[in-house]
Amino acid sequence: MLVSPYAFLAQVVQFLVALAAAPLLTGWINQWRAWLQNKTAPSLLQPYYVLHKLFQKEAVAAENASPLFRATPYVVFGCMALACGIVPAVSTDLPLAPAADAIALVGLFALARVFISLAAMDVGTAFGTLGARREMLIGFLAEPALLMALFCASLITSSTSLSAIVNKMAHSQFQLYPSMAFAGVAFTIVSLAENARVPVDNPATHLELTMVHEALVLEYSARHLALLEWAASLKLFAYSCIGLALFFPYGVAQADAPLAMLISLPALGLKLAVGGFALALIETVSAKLRIFRVPEFLAVAFVLAVIGLLVHGLLGA
């Protein structure tokens, strides 16, 4: 299986762009959240400064933390990096794309979720297990909803490979797909839940009883925490790119066209900027849900995605 040099270049560019730009996206969203709330915003590069600061610190771990606890940040970071490498954000000509399709991507997110829940349970404090329980509660409904939303796209393009989906949707005639409307609403809800955004979870909270994502990383410090924060940014980047790939796949470079990346990179930047603003807007106008309303919220996403599949069966689109 020989990989063409253009494909290899595209893959490397994809990885580098994801790793470098993910904290930038997080910084952009934080800026807009502050501006929409009439506050002074931190610098756009603030997440980079935070990562640099954390890496320099001395790592501190609980006395009874096991090797699983210490290995998890690296595993989770690896999972998110692989996820960013599979989603066709810059180009669809990715050599890694045949290795994992949409279902494997969802499985990859599930793997990361299981590992971080186990690591949270490892130290054996009340907060860790609380976070693990809540994370698995959100995950058990979000994962099937995401899968069904991806299936709506798969049914239209007869493929579960994300590159093939983007190729077909971007380069065939523009068409309005009603089932994608359902998938869109479902995907938005799932992204909010999985990336720990208001209305499911407040990423800036400091009250332990309201935490979901923060409770999972409560015991981590220094380079471990830096890797987990970076992994969270990568997850948000990956989800945004999946959303763009499903709903706005225009401008992504195709096979054997490396110069097209010169167009697709700015296009990606523009799309992510608009998407980030939309996310900040949704976060500002929503209130955080009570924890037991979250399964209902996610059940809405799940049901909408299933109805999207049924609508596809009815209308053929």
Binding site: M1, F55, E58, A59, A61, A62, E63, N64, A71, Y74, V75, F77, G78, C79, L82, P98, A99, A100, D101, I103, A104, G107, A110, L111, V114, L118, M121, D122, V123, G124, T125, A126, T129, R133, R134, M136, L137, G139, F140, L141, E143, P144, L147, M148, F151, S158, S159, T160, S161, E208, E219, R223, L227, F292, A305, V306, L309, L310, H312, G313
Partner: protein, 669 residues
């Protein structure tokens, strides 16, 4: 000569198994000898059986007749691809269990070790003979032997009352199933009197009788597989048995039921009717949902795994139902895909469920506790069991790149292809079923995080847990063998699908082998790479590479210092091990969301109690809806019939006299 060699060798291996059991009878209390000589020998024989079975998978079918049995009713044995596949599963899973038992067997647990060894080997031999049987008679003999030997194994510790009642319930339901299977064979032979499978295959039953036979097969084999509502014996019998026996029952015995259903539905019945597949689909889905929801609320670690087995068998039935449905509509390729997913799941479940049960066996021996509320933190004192158990838990959750994910991937691919069924109702049904399967898979991950996290992670909830010892060497070998199986099956699914290809060709006339081969050994692509592909090896390599790269880079660019401190206590210094989540607490959100599935009884404390108590009892609705009314009815009928027995001799003489008069009257006509 090579043609007959395979089947004869297999039968010889099975006979040696029984021979080992008989040898153990010679000195029933010599635990050392049995544990260190007999069980490892048995494990080697299992490996040999597995190898022979894999060889038989690719060879043409062989048959033989043994003169044992009744005159005029000899035993027919035959090995074809379907038998060979299940035989391979039996061989590989039992190898791990036998070598584990070599380290697990201890004195003083009820039945003598020698007797247990005999029952164990008879059980193994009976399971192998079930899949090799070529006529209904030998099938039923092997089936009953399997049920009886496993009953005795479950009752190994018969002094405990709950174990006795669990065993009794198991035997009862096993026999109800056996009666249904017997009736099924009776219908299939259509009054020809010849019970060989070759004859049953040749019968052309009218659709009504074929449906009756199919329903009887579903009831009979479903009772053994633990399909709702005939599942009530599973959560009782599996925890009651010793752990290697639970592992074999869950990992292997349930699969013989799947074998039976596949044999009857696809091979022996010459037609298939559409609603059969829909029935299996519905039953499987109900079982899977029921099983997984109950798994998340259990507090006994072996009951948790038993309900997880119910869930996985439900998914297997869903796949079988899909394959049947597609075959009815003549969609052979889709039927083969669904059947491949099902058989892969059978193999994967055999491996990871056996691994998990054996891990709980080690934990039970080390700590003496089965209750999740009294375990915790065992990853520090029992690292071997914990890390190998982690592989099993990840495989059970269906996470890439392990074995459980591949079967889920294949099953979901099948759902995606199915938008062109003739009935629009089925077209509407399929996305809903796909969504339900995805939901079941996600919930099983929840349950496995609970299982692994509460037992092995966190702080020990009891003081004595700090003194637990890790598994012995033989136990470690057994666990490692099964864990390696999970990993290998997950990383190299192409080779397994090659073998399964033979089975699907036999059952539905189509196989995925050529298509899968065309895309190389690295990439799994059932139809085309454009359509869907998955490469577990590349997946694992890239994941491992990025993990390692990140670890090394962080250390080089910055530093790798680590300091140990007490855990974060939020300013409250009196934290105890009891303040982490209990198993009830971890499952409480699911219990609240799925409240209607349970029959729940809660005692809540009031603020005025001097000694507040909280008690929650979660039970099974089916017990109260079906079994108790049936039991009440049976008791009433028995009481009515009991009126005949008056206890007075003159009455009994009167009965004999009346019978004599009746016969003379009938003779006179």
């Amino acid at each position: 000569m090579d043609r007959m060699l395979n089947l004869d060798t297999i039968l010889t291996v099975i006979t040696i198994w029984v021979g080992i059991g008989v040898i153990a009878l010679v000195a029933p209390r010599r635990t050392r000898f049995i544990a260190h000589a007999l069980f490892p020998a048995s494990a080697l024989l299992s490996l040999a059986l597995g190898a022979l079975a894999i060889h038989g998978l690719f060879a043409p079918p062989q048959a033989t007749i043994l003169g044992l049995g009744l005159p005029g009713l000899p035993f027919h044995w035959r090995i074809d691809s379907l038998s060979a596949f299940f035989l391979a599963v039996i061989g590989v899973a039992s190898a791990g269990t036998s070598i584990f038992s070599a380290g697990y067997l201890r004195k003083g647990e009820g039945t003598a070790p020698g007797l247990q060894c005999l029952q164990y080997h008879v059980f193994l031999a009976a399971m192998a003979l079930v899949v090799l049987a070529d006529d209904a008679y030998s099938f039923m003999v092997a089936w009953e032997t399997m049920a009886l030997s496993s009953y005795f194994l479950v009752m190994a510790n018969a002094r405990v009352a709950s174990i006795r009642s669990a065993g009794y319930l198991y035997l009862l339901l096993a026999h109800i199933g056996a009666i249904a299977v017997l009736l099924c064979f009776g219908v299939l032979q259509a009054s020809t009197g010849d019970f060989t499978f070759a004859n049953l295959r040749a019968q052309q039953l009218p659709p009504f009788w074929a449906s009756i036979a199919f329903l009887l097969a579903v009831i009979g084999f479903g009772a053994k597989a633990g399909i709702v509502p005939l599942h009530v014996w599973l959560p009782e019998a599996h925890p009651a048995a010793p752990s290697p026996v639970s592992a074999l029952m869950s990992g292997v015995m349930l699969k013989t039921a799947v074998y039976g259903l596949l044999r009857v539905a696809f091979d022996l019945l010459h037609i298939q009717i559409a609603w059969w597949g829909a029935l299996l689909l519905g039953l499987g889905l109900l079982t899977a949902m029921f099983g997984v929801v109950f798994t998340t609320v259990q507090t006994d670690m072996k009951r948790l795994l038993a309900f997880s087995s119910i869930e996985n068998l439900g998914l297997v039935f869903v796949g079988t139902g899909l394959a049947l449905m597609f075959r009815t509509y003549g969609m052979q390729a889709l039927s083969a895909l669904a059947l491949t997913a099902t058989l892969f799941h059978v193999a994967a479940h055999a491996l990871f469920k056996t691994l998990l049960f054996l891990a709980t066996g080690s934990v039970l021996h080390a700590t003496g506790e089965r209750n999740l509320g009294k375990l915790g933190g065992l990853i520090r004192t029992m690292p071997w069991v914990a890390w190998l158990g982690l592989i099993g838990a990840l495989a059970a959750s269906g996470l890439p790149p392990l074995a459980g994910f591949v079967s889920e991937w294949l099953l979901l691919q099948t759902f995606l292809f199915t938008t062109h069924l003739p009935t629009s109702f089925l077209n509407m049904l399929v996305p809903v079923v796909a969504a339900a399967v995805a939901l079941v898979a996600a919930l099983s991950a929840y349950a496995m995080v609970k299982f692994f996290g509460v037992i092995f992670l966190g702080q020990p909830r009891e003081e004595k847990l700090r003194h637990s010892r890790d598994a012995s060497r033989c136990e470690r070998i057994g666990l490692a063998w099964l864990a390696a199986g999970c990993v290998m099956l997950g990383l190299f699914p192409i080779h397994a699908i090659d073998g399964i290809d033979r089975v699907t060709r036999l059952l539905v006339g189509f196989g995925l082998g050529p298509t899968v081969h065309a895309n190389g050994w690295l990439l799994l692509a059932p139809t085309s790479i454009q359509r869907a592909s998955y490469s577990p090896v590349i997946f694992l390599l890239v994941l491992a590479a990025s993990t390692a790269f990140t670890a090394i880079a962080a250390r080089i660019v910055y530093h790798g210092r680590l300091r140990r401190v007490p855990a974060w206590d939020c300013g409250y210094p009196f934290q105890t091990a009891r303040m982490q989540d209990t198993s009830e607490g971890f499952g409480q959100p699911i219990r609240q969301i799925f409240e209607s599935f349970f029959r729940m009884h809660r005692d809540l404390p009031s603020p005025f109690d001097a000694r507040p108590r909280y008690r929650v009892v979660v039970e099974d609705h089916f017990w109260y809806w079906i079994y108790q009314p049936v039991q009440a009815l049976v008791e009433r009928v028995a009481r009515l019939a009991g009126r005949v027995q008056q206890g007075r001799i003159s009455i009994y003489l009167l009965y004999s006299f009346l019978t004599l008069l009746m016969m003379l009257l009938l003779m006179g006509r």
